[in-house]
Amino acid sequence: MIVIRLGWRNLWRNSSRSLITIAGLAFAFGFLIFAMGFSRGFILQLLRNGTELMVGHIEVHDGEYLPDRVLYNTIGGHDGTDWHAMVGRIRQHPSVRHAAPRVYAFGLLSTGNRSSGGQLVGVLPEAEQGLNRLFTPDVVAALGTGHAIALGERLALDIGANVGDEVAVIAPAADGTQGNELFRLTAIVHTGLPALDRSLALLRLGDAQALLALEPERIHEIAIGVGDPMDAAALAPDIARLSRAPAGAVFQGWRELLPQLSNYVDFARAINAFIIGLVVLFSSMGVLNTMAMATLERVREFGMLNAIGMKPRLIVASVLSESLCLVGLGLSGGLAFGTLMMAYLTTHGLNLAWLTGELPMFESRLDPVVKGVWDWNTIPWAAVSLTVATLFAAYWPSRRATRIDPVEALQAPVMP
C-alpha cells in the first residue's frame, strides 16, 4: 500500500508533465473506444445489410443447388420434402429467430412492349418478416393475395411498371414448358443493392410453384435468422440435427454464402487490431519518456534509497506504481471522453452521405449514416494492452533506478 501511495505522491511532483501524459493516454484510449465503436457499427451494418435482405444468416439448400441454382435441385430431391414440418423444427432451436421457405427462378417480366430478365423469388411474406428487411408490414400486406408481385425499383422502372399495373411473367418450368402468368404489381421495393434492385421480383410461394410447375413440397431454400450472426457457422450443425433435414440438404452460414463480406469482416478486425497496436505503441512511448524523465530527475533520491538499503524490488514497485497511477487516470479520462463521443455516435451516427451516399460493397451495402456500437469485446483488451505496455515502458527506468551508485548519485547535480 505504501508503494501505491509513494507512486501517487511521486506522480504529482511534476504535475504538468504528468497531466500532459495522462491527457495523451486519455485521448488515445478515448479515440480507441470511438474508433472501435465506429468500426463495429460499420461492420454490423454491412453484415445486417448483407444477411438481412435476401441472404439469411444460415441457408438450407440441396447440396447440388448452389452455385448454379438449377431449378430441379430442390431440398429433398425431385420428390421435395415436408418443409412445413422441417421449418417448424428449425424454429424450435433456441437461437433461431426466423425461418422461411423460398423458391427461386430466372424469368422474363414484361409490361406492354418493355421487358426485362429478373430473379423470381417465391416467398411466404409473413415468414419473411423480421428475417428480411424488405418485408415491411406494407410489403407483407401488398403480397397478401394471390397473383400479387413486388419488383425491385430499377426493374419496375426498366419495364415501365407502376403499382396496379399488370405484369406478364414467363419462366422455364420444371416440366420443360414455358411457365407464363399474369400478376398485379402491388409493391415496389428498394434494396440499395443495384444488382437486386435491377432484378428482384417477389411473389407468393404458391404462385411461384404453380408458375414453375413445382409440386407444393418442392422448395429451393430455407433462410434462417439467428440471434447473433457471428454465431451462424457454429449453430448450423446443431440446427441441421434438430431439423431432421432430408439426405443431401446442406446448412451453410453467411460466411460461406458471402465470402467477400466474410473476408472483409476478418480484414476489418485485423485492421482494428493494427490500430490498437499503433495507439498502444505511441502511448507507451509517451509513458516511457515520462517515467525516464521522472527517474532521471530523482537520481539523488534513488541513490539515497539504495544507500539506506531499500530493496530493489520496492524501488521498482514504486516506479511501476507511479506509472500504474498514470495509466489508471489516463484510462478513466479516456473512458469518460470515449463515452461522450459514443453517446453521440450511437444516437446520431456519422452521416457519410456527403462522402459516399448509399454505397454497395462486399455483397452488401453501406447506409449513408453509420451508427456506432459499443465494442465491449475489444475495449477491455485495449485497456489491458495499454496498461501492460505502460508497465513495460516504465520497467526499464525502474530497473535503472535500482542500479544507481549511491556515491555517484549523491554527487549528481540537483535537478530543478
Binding site: 430466372f106 422474363l108 414484361s110 421487358s115 406478364a168 414467363i170 420443360g176 414448358t177 414455358q178
Partner: protein, 250 residues
C-alpha cells in the same frame, strides 16, 4: 440457292473428290452446308424432341423463314403449348403466349437463355452468322472414315467477327457434300456442343439431313433433336407474315 446451282456444285465437287481441295473449294462446300436448309424463303414442319434427365418433351411446330432475317415459329402440338409463337425480325424477337394472350419482347439480356426449354438459345434463332463471312476455313482431313469418304473442315472465327463460337469443325460426306456432324468450340478451345446430322432424304427436290441432334457437352445425356417432317423452299410468304399481328395466328 436454287436446285440447278446446287446440282452444278455437286457435279464439280464429284470431280475433285480425289484431288486435294483448294481453299476456294473448301469455302464453297462449307457455304453449301451453311445454306443447305435455307432458301430465299422456306416453310418447314418440325418435330422437336428435348430430352433431359428430368423430362422429355416432344413439340411439333411450323417454321416460316425469309432470307436470313425473318423467322416465325408457331407451335402446333402438344395442345398445352399450341398457339405459342416466336417471331424474329432482324435482331428483334417476340414471343406470343396464348394462355395469357400477351406478346412479350425478348430483351437482349435474355438472348442466351434457352428457347422453349431446348438446347438452343434465343440467340441461336436471331444470329445471322454466315460461316464463310465470319470464319476462316481450312481443310483438316480428306479421306475415308468408317467406310465413307469425308472431308473435315475447321472454321476459325475471324478476329473481328461477332460470333459465339471460336471454332467449328465439320465433317462432310465427299459424295454429296452433306454434313455428318459439326462440333462447336468456345474461344478457349473447349468443346461445347455437337450437332449430328442423319436421315438424309429428298425434300422439295433437295437432299437434306432431316434429323439434327444437338448434344451439349456439359450436360451428359441431354439433347435436342429437330426432325423435319416437311420442308419446302422458295415458298410464297403471305403478306404481313413477319409482323407482330401475325403472332396471334388466325
Amino acid at each position: 440457292m436454287g436446285i440447278a446451282v446446287l446440282a452444278l456444285g455437286v457435279g464439280r465437287l464429284q470431280a475433285m473428290q480425289k484431288a486435294p481441295l483448294s481453299p476456294d473449294d473448301a469455302k464453297r462446300i462449307i457455304d453449301h452446308v451453311d445454306r443447305l436448309m435455307r432458301g430465299d424463303s422456306s416453310r418447314a414442319t418440325v418435330e422437336m424432341l428435348v430430352s433431359t434427365p428430368q423430362w422429355k418433351r416432344s413439340t411439333r411446330m411450323t417454321i416460316w423463314s425469309e432470307k436470313t432475317e425473318n423467322v416465325l415459329i408457331r407451335i402446333e402440338a402438344p395442345k398445352k403449348d399450341a398457339g405459342t409463337a416466336t417471331l424474329r425480325v432482324g435482331h428483334n424477337m417476340w414471343n406470343y403466349l396464348p394462355k395469357i394472350d400477351r406478346v412479350v419482347r425478348v430483351p437482349a439480356s435474355m438472348m442466351m437463355v434457352s428457347w422453349m426449354g431446348s438446347h438452343f438459345t434465343n440467340d441461336d434463332l436471331v444470329k445471322e452468322t454466315r460461316i464463310i463471312r465470319d470464319y476462316n476455313i481450312e481443310t483438316a482431313f480428306q479421306g475415308a472414315r468408317d467406310g465413307t469418304d469425308v472431308y473435315e473442315f475447321t472454321a476459325t472465327a475471324k478476329a473481328d467477327a461477332a460470333v459465339v463460337w471460336g471454332r467449328i469443325v465439320y465433317e462432310v460426306r465427299q459424295a454429296d457434300t452433306l454434313p455428318v456432324w459439326a462440333r462447336f468450340y468456345a474461344e478457349d478451345g473447349t468443346l461445347k456442343a455437337t450437332a449430328t446430322f442423319s436421315d438424309y432424304a429428298t425434300m422439295d427436290g433437295r437432299v437434306v439431313p432431316t434429323r439434327l441432334r444437338m448434344t451439349p457437352q456439359d450436360k451428359p445425356g441431354e439433347f435436342t433433336e429437330m426432325h423435319y417432317l416437311s420442308l419446302a423452299f422458295n415458298v410464297a410468304i403471305p403478306p404481313n407474315m413477319f409482323a407482330l399481328n401475325s403472332l396471334r395466328g388466325s
